[in-house]
Amino acid sequence: MRKTKQEAPTFQANSKSSLREKMANFNEKVKKDFKRNKIIYLMVSPVVLYYIVFQYGPMYGLQIAFKDYSPVLGFLGSPWVGFDHFKEFFNSFFFWRLLKNTIILSFYSLIFAFPAGIILALLLNEVRSKMFKRTVQTVTYMPHFISLVVIVGILFDFTARDGVINDILGFLFGIEPIAFMQQAEWFRTLFIGSDIWQNVGWSSIIFLAAMSNIDTALYEAAKMDGAGRFKQMFHITLPGIMPTVVILLILLIGKFMTVGEEKILLMYNPTTYETADVIGTYVYRKGILESNFSYSAAVGLFKAIIAFTLLVIANGIARKVGDTKLW
């Protein structure tokens, strides 16, 4: 970093001719480097292209958040309206509810769904029978490969008035059938619960991999010192996978405001909007169904800004507390 700062003034102070010289020099170096590492450049190009086309390219369209976009006038031709759409959203009847629902769902999945994978991995790590361990692993990560539409379909069937869950509740406790999918207070439980069921096995894989990297000598030493399995788990396994956990957590916080809108769209209905309607689903209804593109772009941008801020904060904290960080 320091070097650039020193470099910059001299670079600017140079006359045009020497700038050209430098450029030529530089171009040559690039060419040389390119020749030498052709294959590497070739290998990296699809990734770079992907980011340009699908991540940076579309950002050009973000300007419609500050415009009154009409498809006929195009991105450039539509008139500017400044922050009107943002103001409209902040003053909207549903603003606080959307924000609250988005944050609560994200928070719940952070405190319930995220640790679930770690716990499962810890448990599996202690299992000594290989057969049993593999079976459990396969069974738990299988649902990850089922399409979301099917998962939600299964959920509807299971939680119907005459579905399995109500049958069991009625048989064991004599509870009257509950219309789970139509009651706002059940939505979060169903959403997070089914998320854990679907993804716990999959997310445990990465932690299991991290555990297999821990030096076995540590465990032997601990055993010599008389540490039981619980102590080993808390003092060796957990600290051993901590860097992985922290990185994953930071990445997750970056996606904090993105709560799986597709799944909510499949699950919700007006009776559960109270707890289910989040910023993402609101953007979908406003933008795609009512073709109010500018407004929904503004709302989406607002969401992205929050997520970005959270990511920076989380990374800052991680940096201070330990030495694991994204950048």
Binding site: K3, P71, V72, G74, P270, T271, I288, L289, E290, S291
Partner: protein
């Protein structure tokens, strides 16, 4: 290290350049399209004699479920195969997938992309920002002159039916589509309450007509074990929130419509009237007493079919064809006793009529066909579309191919066995879908002789009569249009308002929100701008009256 810094700078530069390139290309494209639009509008009129049928056109339209049963595209359907033989025009159909909001989604994205086919079939009356705006922006073209010059058949029909012409023209005087028109009163009534006649007979009860009679009958249903499984699992009544909101079963008895209605020239919003609270009180009581299906707020076709065919459901609000006809057909073999009969629209007092019920206008906007601003030969396309309104075209679109799907018997086009008793076992609606378009809508005038044969059961014939007779329908709003500015303001008010409304309607009925909070509900609606929306509707109604 220095080299690295420079490399970094260069790669950022290259990246920026690439982005600019991509951006530059795409903005050039849109500019090109706009120019074409303007060219299209300035076109001079060709001599009608010189205009033939187009060689080929692209046509965007939803594929109706009854067609999808047998065909991949409308090209496979009898009417379009015959039409191609007559006109020589090859049609490239583009069908959006899915149904309901899936179609809305794909339509909006298509319009936004600017890549438009020649011909687009949609409900153009209610598109975002209205049809006038769509013409102004060049998405579709104004058709007045084209219809006058190149569509003699539609032109004649509209001139003979000035009331219809008024409906298909906007306040600004634009015609924007080849409309789907209902050619007879009998075609306009197709929804109402229906009840299990065999259950009534078993209990020796009369068909209910007033709200209190309904309550008695529903209670009696509730307490009887019709299917004999020893459980009290009868669901006496099912009405869905969307129907309550947009059409008004039971609500008509209270003299209002849930949405905007026309009270002698003054627009009112029904759900903030005190009558609406009375209605909610009744519905809430029925829900609490187990008379109204507890699943009423989240029902789909599969679930509804299951409830009816498992002999669970006592009465429902539904269609003559897709309700009575469908279920009588499904149950014919399983339960010969099964009988679903239409009942009068409920009223408060004996002998009264309901203020409003389902009754379609001759033109509502569904299945209207507009020509896109990008179409190169609008005159020819207009001529092609006009064929459906000619005498031969009318027969083709309503009855299909003579000798195949219908025969002329004593001057009456009678559907053949292929339709009425399909050898492949297709229900009549699917068999019709294989040949014609009149059964679900399209750019044509629907013929009453279609519905006379389609409603083959006496119960269905009775339904059209009884549902037509027992409602006043004086307060129904005519098919008004909002202008571009109004429509933008209106939709920005109504989209949040409707979300809130849909929730509250269900919560009031389910008792999750006590009825004591009705005044708060009204205040919230006012806070969200319902009064402004009423003003906008009033302006639209006033303009409509002056058309």
């Amino acid at each position: 290290m220095i080299m690295w810094q420079k490399m970094k700078a260069l790669s950022v530069l290259l990246l920026l350049l690439l982005i600019l390139l991509v951006v530059g290309c795409s903005s050039n494209d849109t500019a090109g399209e706009q120019e074409e639009n303007i060219d299209g509008e300035d076109m001079e009129l060709k001599d009608p004699g010189e205009v033939g049928y187009p060689e080929e056109i692209t046509y965007w339209t939803e594929l109706n479920a009854s067609v999808a049963q047998t065909s991949q595209t409308l090209n496979d359907v009898g009417v379009y195969q015959e039409l191609e033989k007559i006109t020589g025009t090859k049609v490239d159909f583009k069908h959006p997938s899915g149904e309901g909001t899936d179609i809305t989604e794909q339509f909006n994205l298509m319009i936004a992309s600017g890549q438009l086919p020649d011909v687009i079939e949609y409900n153009w009356r209610t598109v975002p920002n209205g049809p006038d705006q769509a013409i102004e922006s060049g998405t579709i073209i104004r058709l007045n002159e084209l219809i006058e010059n190149y569509a003699p058949n539609l032109n004649r029909y509209l001139n003979e039916n000035p009331e219809v012409k008024k409906m298909v023209t906007t306040d600004a005087g634009n015609m924007y589509s080849f409309p789907f028109l209902r050619g007879d009163e009998k075609l306009m009534v197709f929804m109402g309450m229906m009840i299990r006649q065999d259950w009534l007979d078993e209990l020796d009860l009369e068909k209910p007509s007033t709200i209190s009679e309904w309550e008695e009958v529903l209670t009696a249903f509730k307490n009887t074990d019709f299917n004999g499984n020893g459980e009290q699992d009868v669901i006496p009544l099912l009405v869905q929130p969307d129907d309550i909101k947009n059409i008004g079963p039971f609500l008509g008895a209270y003299g209002i419509h849930a949405q905007f209605y026309n009270d002698n020239g003054t627009v009112k919003y029904g759900s903030i009237q005190p009558e609406f609270k009375e209605f909610l009180t009744t519905m809430n009581k029925w829900y609490e007493d187990g008379l109204l299906d507890p699943d009423f707020a989240a029902i789909d076709t599969t679930l509804l079919d299951a409830k009816v065919t498992n002999n669970q459901l006592g009465s429902l609000f539904g269609y003559t064809g897709g309700g009575i006809g469908k279920y009588m057909g499904l149950m014919q073999d399983r339960d010969p006793e099964f009988s679903l009969a239409p009942t009068a629209h409920p009223s408060l007092k004996e002998g009264e009529k309901a203020a409003t019920a389902q009754r379609a206008h001759p033109y509502e906007g569904f299945h209207s066909v507009a020509i896109s601003g990008l179409a190169e030969n609008p005159e020819e396309i207009v001529k092609w579309l006009d064929y459906a309104y000619s005498e031969e075209g009318h027969m083709l679109f309503n009855f299909g191919i003579e000798g195949e799907s219908y025969d002329m018997i004593d001057g009456y086009p009678t559907y053949s066995e292929e339709i009425t008793n399909n050898p492949d076992g297709l229900p009549m609606s699917d068999a019709l879908g294989k040949y014609i378009r009149a059964s679900y809508g399209g750019p044509l005038v629907q013929d009453v002789r279609y519905v006379e044969q389609y409603l083959e059961l006496p119960e269905q014939q009775e339904a059209v009569e009884i549902w037509g007779e027992t409602a006043e329908n004086e307060i129904n709003m005519p098919p008004t249009t909002l202008n571009a500015d109004e429509s933008e303001e209106y939709s920005s008010i109504m989209s949040d308002l409707d979300t809130y409304y849909d929730e509250m309607l269900v919560r009031f009925i389910m008792g999750e929100e006590p009825l004591g909070h009705f005044d708060n509900f009204v205040e919230t609606l006012k806070g969200m701008g319902i009064e402004r929306a009423i003003e906008l509707q009033q302006a639209a109604l006033d303009r409509y009256m002056e058309r």
